[in-house]
């Protein structure tokens, strides 16, 4: 048996689905978090001995899809014939929600209405007459509170849905037989349906707080949605998040954790003193050291995820989308592009998937191409390592990394707008602002722990295998002889990485160790840290005592032999070049165009290279009074990139013109204008 969960965006479908199935799918206090359907078996406490599959569908306002993810819902309930539908209705916004409900009731499939978020209604003094509503809709209605573990109304609601399976739903309202291609007829029919819904709401709902009155929430929104104040507040909030996670609390906990990792590494190395050196290198340096270097940054990542989850849950991130919309529109993106960007602070893959909420194809492709410029969680260890080693742990490095990522998104969007010959058109940004609420610590903790688990799994599998391979390739030459001290450049790793290192000379870090770390970063970005730990034999990347040394002249900085300028160039190169292969795969799926995919990879490579080149060359000029190494070859590479952009732009626009030429197939039109 299958039960579909459908309702408006941000009505709490996924929260209910998680409560009923025991899953922990991503939820958020804004619409558009779910972009694909998900299925899982209901817990036995709800379904008894029956096998009942719950299908969580993306939010939709009506059966006529406006965005691709709304299309999934409409397509599913129309064609998949679920045995019952649970329509999750936001009890705090009944009039808006029931439009979709009345459409679902017309399908003939039994519907059970779940009045979710009823707890908020109780707090606000809003009363809904359940029995009356049930009678008017011709279907059972239950009050539910998905966030509560007990007395949440879920069991009764599911039992009813199961018992109704196989019956036929009688609709309270039937759409007139109209021509669905006639816009005016459809509009008129929609108005009739709204009138029907409003009549029901008038009868069943009593509100203490009228939506037309200005309340405390509206006053807060007036400030946060102000185009100037809103952006300033956003900057301060994000700075605070980075400061707490990467300069204060995160490193404090990490320092403690690294102490244990180091002690363990020392113990392993001590036990292997009389064993072959390769074994000690593989186990103590490669696995414990390399993986430990990545795991050492876990507290920073966890603190950041915790704070971002709090911001999402209280409703702030939805406000950020709204305040950024005018800016994003100016560069040819949508306000909805903000959602992938925010999700991208966690992981690039769901961020790219979240681009499905953007209706316009060009905006959608552009956003999925640019969203990974925002550093994801995997890049936090890289940022923290360089901030700690070269900039005395300054929080401005993280803040700059994220805000510079935003700047690159804007510039990239402008560039794509120029290449694709985009013309101004009116686009709409419709997003419901959720009510402000006190963020749930339980939700934030759960979200943080899920991320931490994922991070550890990645470290214990991909990072571990990669570090072992890197260690083997560093230990042996191509004849499988152990590389002797002082002859490290003859190792397999060095010989593979050296050709790439040559290309990096104009960027200031043309050494094989750094090239090798950047290459392994394409498998998973945490690998940059793991590989650096292996190739330089370092693990103590985090040391609060050392970080306090002004100037950052600590062991890591000394061993790597980079200046602050080259360190920043290397950091930004790793942040803004293409993401990991998995994220590139996600881009491929979302873009559905090889041309766009290769364009995206080219743009990201070019951006990372250009940013690093400019930082190194200008930085060296400012700090040392002369240009850096390889300026001329670098300049030639940049000129070639510019040429490539111009040529691609011309090619695209030529095709564009051909497409819109109206009279090309009519003979004798040449010179007609004359």
């Amino acid at each position: 048996m299958r039960i579909a969960f459908a309702g408006n965006p941000n009505s709490g479908k996924t929260t209910m689905y998680n409560a009923l199935t025991g899953r922990s799918e991503k939820v958020g206090n804004w619409g558009g978090v779910t972009v694909g359907s998900k299925e899982y078996q209901l817990k036995k406490e709800f379904a008894g001995n029956q096998e009942v599959i719950a299908v969580d569908l993306p939010g939709a306002y009506s059966m006529s899809p406006f965005t691709p993810e709304e299309g999934i819902t409409s397509e599913y309930v129309r064609t998949a014939n679920p045995d019952a539908i649970v329509n999750i209705v936001d009890a705090t916004n009944l009039s808006r929600s029931l439009f979709f409900t009345t459409q679902l009731l017309e399908l003939g499939i039994p519907v059970v209405v779940a009045l979710n978020k009823s707890d908020i209604n109780e707090k606000e003094g809003t009363e809904i007459d359940i029995e009356k509503l049930s009678a008017k809709l011709n279907c059972p209605v239950f009050k539910t509170i998905s966030v509560n573990d007990k007395n949440n109304g879920l069991k009764e609601m599911i039992s009813k849905a199961i018992s109704l399976a196989g019956t036929i739903q009688k609709p309270p309202y039937l759409q007139a037989d109209i021509n669905l291609h006639d816009k005016d007829a459809v509009d008129a029919e929609d108005r009739k349906r709204y009138a029907f819904v409003n009549e029901i709401v008038k009868d069943v709902e009593k509100r203490k707080v009228l939506s037309a009155e200005t309340n405390k929430q509206d006053k807060i929104d007036a400030v946060l949605l102000n185009p100037v104040a809103g952006i300033l507040v956003f900057a301060v909030v994000m700075w605070f998040v980075f400061w707490v996670s990467q300069a204060w609390l995160g490193p404090l906990v990490a320092d403690w954790l690294v102490g244990y990792i180091e002690a363990f590494q020392g113990w392993v190395a001590g036990q292997l003193e009389s064993s072959p050196a390769i074994l000690s290198a593989l186990l103590a340096d490669g696995i414990v050291g390399g993986v430990g270097a990545v795991v050492g940054f876990l507290p920073l990542v966890m603190v950041m995820y915790f704070l971002i989850a709090l911001l999402e849950d209280c409703g702030y991130m939805a406000r950020v989308s709204a305040v950024m919309d005018p800016i994003f529109k100016r560069v040819g993106l949508s306000g909805k592009s903000v959602i992938p960007v925010v999700i991208g602070t966690g992981c690039g893959i769901p961020a790219i998937m979240a681009c499905r909420t953007i209706r316009d194809e060009r905006e959608r492709r552009t956003t999925s191409m640019l969203t990974t410029f925002i550093p994801c969680g995997a890049k936090i260890p890289v940022i923290a390592l360089f901030a700690g080693a070269f900039f005395a742990g300054a929080s401005w490095v993280s803040t700059l990394s994220y805000f510079f990522g935003l700047v690159l998104i804007f510039l990239g969007a402008l560039l794509i707008k120029g290449i694709t010959g985009y013309k101004y058109r009116k686009s709409f940004f419709i997003m419901e602002l959720p009510k402000w609420k006190v963020p749930s610590l339980k939700f934030a903790f759960k979200s943080m722990m899920e991320r931490a688990r994922a991070y550890i799994i990645k470290a214990a599998t991909i990072i571990l295998v990669c570090n072992t391979l890197v260690q083997i390739m560093q230990t042996f030459d191509w004849h499988f002889n152990v590389v002797e001290e002082g002859a490290e450049s003859t190792s397999i790793l060095a010989s593979i990485a050296t050709p790439f290192a040559v290309l990096l000379i104009p960027l200031g870090f043309g050494v094989w160790q750094l090239a090798a770390a950047a290459i392994t970063g394409f498998i998973a970005k945490e690998n940059v840290v793991g590989t650096l730990a292996v190739v330089y034999g370092l693990t103590a990347f985090i040391d609060v005592d050392e970080l306090e040394m002004v100037g950052g002249a600590n062991t890591v900085a000394v061993t790597m032999g980079l200046t602050s300028v080259t360190a920043l160039a290397y950091l930004f190169f790793n942040l803004y070049t293409p993401p990991c292969f998995a994220a590139i795969g996600a881009m491929n799926s979302e873009m559905k165009s090889k041309g766009w995919l290769w364009g995206a990879i080219g743009l990201q490579l070019g951006t990372g290279y250009t940013v690093a080149f400019l930082i190194y060359q200008i930085g060296t000029l400012v700090t040392e009074g002369h240009l850096g190494q390889g300026f001329l070859p670098g300049l030639i590479a940049e000129a070639l990139m510019v040429l490539a952009v111009i040529m691609i732009g011309r090619k695209v626009r030529a095709h564009f013109d051909e497409q819109y030429e109206l009279h090309k197939n009519i003979k004798g039109t040449e010179g007609a204008a004359a």
Binding site: R23, E25, K26, V35, G36, S37, K38, E39, P68, E69, G71, I72, E75, Q271, L272, S274, S275, P276, L279, S280, L282, L283, I287, C347, I349, P350, M353, R356, E450, R451, R453, A454, Y455, I457, K458, A460, T461, I462, L464, V465, T468, C580, A582, A583, G585, A586, N588, S589, E590, K592
Partner: protein
């Protein structure tokens, strides 16, 4: 070969075997992003289709 070396070799073999096996199994299931907290929520994940599945349910090119 002393006792510590033997233990180390065994530990190394077990750790690598478990890590590679995990990666292999996940890849076989269709997970392209191991460790991704969203891997399990991808559409039709259980049927072995990855999170990079087209919205219509068919595998994207």
């Amino acid at each position: 070969m002393n006792f510590a070396t033997l233990i180390a070799v065994l530990a190394l073999a077990v750790i690598l075997f478990l890590a590679v096996r995990y990666i292999y199994r996940e890849k076989k299931k269709g997970t392209t992003c191991i460790g991704c907290p969203y891997a399990g929520s991808c559409q039709k994940y259980k049927e072995g289709i990855t999170c990079q599945t087209d919205i219509s349910g068919s595998k994207a090119e």
